[in-house]
């Protein structure tokens, strides 16, 4: 009879293989697959997911977990082995609650919903999409019903993307953040004329952009021996183990920051995947699980490094070299101000760092109201538009640029949005601490040396994989809870500089 812990490890290894396989099916679908392959691909993905789910939730897996836990009794609870059993048991107990048929219905409805959404968005017709959203929401409620011991119906949804997080805790943090951001946005609105980002718009050949992005990624740690970069309409990152990292970006010939910052963002995700300790490969801890921590990495690289003053000094001459013309002689300060212009706008993925979190917070609020029934789907567009007017001061002209702009709800992803803002909060805390630990960090960034920061993140975040929740990791590495302060201080500092204000003193 084999060691029960080894048996569990083998089972978990197979599940990791299925996860990697499922990710490859999806990566290929978005980057390589000829369009007519879609139907066959959907079948293959559904089958891998079903097999994976069945293997995981089986009684047999439960027995392996119990036996492995007993065999490990007395081991250091902080060890990777003990942590992996805790993590697996938590996932198993949650997954067991969900009938296989419901899980399959959710997967199928997500696929159908996305197809309907594409058409509805093109025609800006929320009415055409509403029945599919109704279906997804109905399935989400049935999913929530599988968990009768929760404080709030939104909790089990949020927990899928942010293990251990509570809706009430996030709501408190977001209320605090919202208040700060609305003041900040009000202040900037009075100074709107002070920053010009006209130089970011023009004619930027894709081949030149590719050269710029290749240089940038190499600086961050992209290594062709273990990485790829490809084009995708909606950029994303994937990791099939820590030695096969795939990132994507998109190219806008009239606005060069798109490819550059999207590549930095996805490379930030990729570095996280790559940085997981080799010993965790094919274990339950081998793939980062907290979406908030994941997003903290992408946003930290994209915004705090990429749109930060020190590194803008490195970027500017490269941008000037790549495109010349009106950008010849571009200096760091000019680039810095342009890429940090604050403009309340309609579209989340194009939002600046300050307004971005309000796009998230209003989605988080609307999702809770939809789930608990306070808001009816037919009233959603109106509620959406009202909240955009209230928080960002913008009028939503149509549903395509409003409530239909994101794929998430069409894909049944409810509970995901808040992890984006959570990621920004965590990034603020990590970036603050990295500065405290490395007093010369800004000087290094200004010299184009990104290695120190990457290694600091490896040490404090990446290597743990899924061992700790976001809250646990911050407690352990920073001795802190998740907080709003560092992000707000960081944003105030940036706005002060970009808009020639003195917000820190306020």
């Amino acid at each position: 009879m084999a060691d029960p812990f080894e048996q569990l490890r083998e089972r978990m290894g197979e599940l990791a293989d299925l996860r990697n396989t499922s990710e490859l099916l999806d990566w290929d679908r978005q980057t390589m697959m000829p369009p007519r392959g879609a139907l066959s691909r959907a079948e293959a993905s559904a089958t891998i997911q079903r097999l994976s789910h069945d293997m995981f939730v089986s009684d047999d897996t439960g027995r392996l977990i119990d036996a492995a836990a007993a065999a490990l009794d007395g081991a250091n609870p902080d060890s990777d082995d003990a942590a992996s059993i805790r993590v697996v048991r938590r996932r198993w107990e949650k997954a067991r609650r969900v009938p296989g048929r419901l899980a399959a219905d959710i997967t199928r409805a997500a696929s159908v919903g996305q197809t309907a959404w594409i058409v509805a968005r093109e025609e800006s017709d929320f009415g055409a999409f509403a029945p599919y959203l109704e279906q997804n929401l109905d399935l989400v409620r049935r999913y929530v019903d599988c968990f009768d011991d929760v404080d709030c119906p939104y909790d089990p949804l949020l927990d899928d993307y942010e293990p251990g997080a509570r809706t009430a805790d996030l709501a408190r943090l977001f209320d605090e953040l919202k208040a700060e951001l609305r003041v900040l946005i009000g202040t900037v609105a009075e100074q709107a004329g002070r920053v010009d980002d006209g130089l970011l718009h023009g004619d930027f050949p894709v081949a030149r952009q590719r050269g710029l992005v290749a240089w940038l990624l190499e600086l961050m740690g992209f290594d062709p021996a273990g990485w790829r970069i490809d084009d995708a309409v909606h950029p994303f990152a994937a990791g099939f183990g820590s030695h096969d990292i795939r990132i994507t970006t998109r190219w806008d010939e009239s606005f060069f920051p798109t490819s550059m910052y999207s590549a930095m963002h996805e490379c930030g995700h990729g570095l996280y995947e790559e940085g997981v300790a080799e010993s965790l490969e094919r274990t339950p801890l081998g793939h980062p699980e907290s979406c908030g921590l994941h997003e903290s990495q992408s946003r930290l690289w994209e915004n705090m490094v990429g749109r930060g003053r020190p590194f803008c000094g490195v970027l500017a001459p490269r941008v000037a070299d790549a495109f010349g013309g009106p950008l010849a002689g571009l200096d760091g300060e000019t680039l810095y101000r342009a890429v940090n212009k604050v403009t309340p706008s309609l579209i989340r993925v194009e939002a600046d760092e300050v307004t971005y979190n309000l796009h998230i917070i209003l989605r988080f609020e609307l999702e809770q109201e939809l789930v608990d029934g306070r808001l009816a789907i037919r009233d959603l567009p109106e509620a959406w538009n009202a909240r955009y007017k209230e928080y960002l001061g913008v009028d939503v002209p149509d549903d395509a640029d409003g409530v239909l702009q994101d794929v998430h709800w069409a894909a049944g992803l409810i509970g995901y949005f808040p992890t984006y803002a959570l990621g920004n909060l965590v990034a603020g805390q990590l970036f603050e601490r990295a500065h405290a630990d490395m007093p010369d960090l800004d000087a290094r960034l200004a010299a184009g040396d990104l290695d120190g920061l990457r290694e600091w993140l490896r040490e404090h975040v990446h290597r743990y994989g899924a061992k700790f929740s976001a809250t646990e990791l911050l407690q352990r590495e920073l001795g802190a809870s998740i907080e709003v302060g560092p992000l707000v201080q960081y944003l105030k500092g940036k706005i002060s500089r970009v808009y020639d204000l003195d917000l820190d003193a306020a």
Copy 2:
């Protein structure tokens, strides 16, 4: 209780999904994967194969087959449904005989063997590879031992790649073919100076080759909506269902025929995958099973069309346009003679149409001797070299260009080689019949119209998928057994023309 036939269909659909997934893992490995991803990919592939094997050989699948067969009792035995149950039952009964552990050992040894082979071939060191071949051969013998009711130990191996084929039948065909080819090669040897292929060698920029290949593939029926072409060191084709066809080619800057004919070859495979009737998708008949039939398609397009006199008249001006220089004004007759030069040589994949089959036949003979123990592995290089001298008159200078040249044995593929020569025989029969059915076929090919031939192949071969074995298909569509005559007649006709001889009258 669901219809048992529907239940079986669903199970088979899932197995088809796993097959497509497994093919994607392999396609990606050979075209896209960064090198460091290899280990994680090997784990994922092994897990998918194991799950697929376990699902297929289960008692449960056996019960579904029995129930479905009973439910279908009385149906037309020629119907797709009846055929699919026959095919599944045959595969299930064969797979059941093989213990799961042995199947896993074979997969693992194949992976290890290929790695060892790469090093051994680089160093031309058969001794270093011998232990791995010993291991593979030992596993092959244990595999053969699972089948105690066969005439010949090579039969169950051959049957894996060529369902229903018997070693004795193939040996008779190949003996006849060998005798004909050796006479033909002897005749050509006396005329070696008559054909000059110097014009095929030179400096051919890859970008120009890509343009030529793109034009050629479009003519054959390549459609970007459902196809991709990528680069690969060892070109191959894959189909994930009939709407997602992936082919590959390689580029030799000093010899343009490599990319052109490799692309035609793989496109021939791709057309077969694409041409399977839509109604067979996700059924046991949905993926062509006979390697001989598959190879008949690739070789027919590559050689009989691509190196045929009519189509050379279409190719020549395109080649001239693409490369100019010494090729400016190239005419069809000159190209035709150059690409059909017969030269006994060392390397199978570079062999001309006439000598190619001797490369195969000697491997088929050596494989049988290895399996039944007449030949010891330590004596294999000597036997290899002796047979090359005897059949092709060439001296093998080292193992890298001799017994180590192919990956097949390293990958545990024993029984596969003969399907290449079988494919050539079948191609000869199909091409002869296509001419009989379409008297204007040569005129169409000379006009660059490949549609008629493709549709003829769709009608007589492609649409059936795995419904018929090679023998059954030829019987049904051509009213013939597998025969040597048509290929030999075809080759004699070509050699007569290229070498200004009159072999037909001989």
